[in-house]
Amino acid sequence: MTARGFVAVVRAIAARLCDSATMEHVIEPTLADFDFEADEAARRGQRARCCWLHVALAVSIVRAVVASTLDRVVDQTIPLAAADERQTLRAMMITAGVATAVAVVLLWLPTLGRFDWLLGLYLVPMTIPIALPVGLTVGILAGMRGAHPSHAIVVRLLAMAMLATIVSFATLGWIVPESNQAFRQRAWEQVARVNGFEIRPLARGVNELKWIDLRERVRTSSLDGIHDPAAAFAYYQMWTLPLATLILALFAAAVARRWRVRAAIGSVAAITTLFAHYSLIFAGRQAAMDGALGPATAAWLPDLCVVAGAIAIELTARRKPA
């Protein structure tokens, strides 16, 4: 395909995706500039630069279409000058996008190789307590785009985080145990049918017990003097995991208020924070199983570390010289 043909194909694809204003002010100038620079490079015999410019053009058009669509949605929803609303909406849209992407990955991984709609459906509740904090943390840090969030934005985002925490708590305490059990039962029945095993109802593990049942089991074990760290850790985690949504949002807001975080750096900061938090969850669980830490301490440790980080950032922000 010739260089001009490539530009024509890209233009035709963009024309199907974008409105006339976007074509006139975003796509056409992009194509014209790249076309001009590629022509100059070809005239000077710089074939490598010419090829590189075409790759860069394709990437730029994709980014321009995404950025322009995002901008158009924000513009249609909110007046152009309302910067607070734009920042809030952008953070919410990134939150929704990232949370959905995380949920899709979490659904896809366990059903890898044996696609089963019902198995996937049973896993949906399990993704909520993980996808929401990840989405919110990335949404807040990447959505500010180098600007400090105002007090009003922080309040709105934290209200959203509070709502997500409540949803997460209800899901983890009541819906996830039922869906987990249904998932295990269906997966077991599939295996049993293939291998000719007897199909029978499976006993529930600690992850399949509702909040109330788990609390009762921990209380009974304690009264009977039975050491049951798995149940105790799972019980405390039903509090700490949903609360992590609010705590991680608080941390992200503290970072965004302290530093001007650009989208790319914000995304990296969010992923690093989340990685550290989830590493602490796994380390805490192992420590609880080994008896190195009490189940309550081990379960609360990751959230407390993030809270300590948020407080430290807030304190250093206040000490910043005027």
Binding site: I27, D33, R63, A67
Partner: protein, 101 residues
């Protein structure tokens, strides 16, 4: 009652674009990216320029159609009087409140 006019907002990128256009004269998108020393990105510069045109900070004109067959006319951008005043006002505020600059 007439609606109260909003004060125009100016993002860091928009301010950079206006400063570059004021300093270098009329430029097209990729020239702005090059002049900004990679602070502006190829993928988002045109979205930013489109938004700035809507806000009235810059204006654009298409160059004469190129002589080469099938070539596309580039769009050159110029700061408007409003754009220049907004940058000047921003600089003034930044001098008064350096912690927000």
């Amino acid at each position: 009652m007439t609606p109260r006019a909003r004060i125009p907002t100016l993002s860091a990128k928009e301010r950079l674009v206006l400063e570059l256009l004021a300093r270098e004269g009329d430029l097209y998108g990729l020239q702005l990216v090059a002049a900004s020393k990679r602070r502006l990105k190829r993928g988002t510069i045109y979205v930013t320029l489109g938004r700035m045109e809507k806000k009235g900070f810059i204006t654009s004109r298409l160059e004469d159609p190129p002589a080469r067959e099938g070539g596309m006319a580039r769009r050159f951008y110029t700061p408007t009087a409003l754009g220049r005043r907004v940058v000047a006002a921003w600089d003034h505020v930044a001098r008064l409140l350096p912690e927000f600059a």
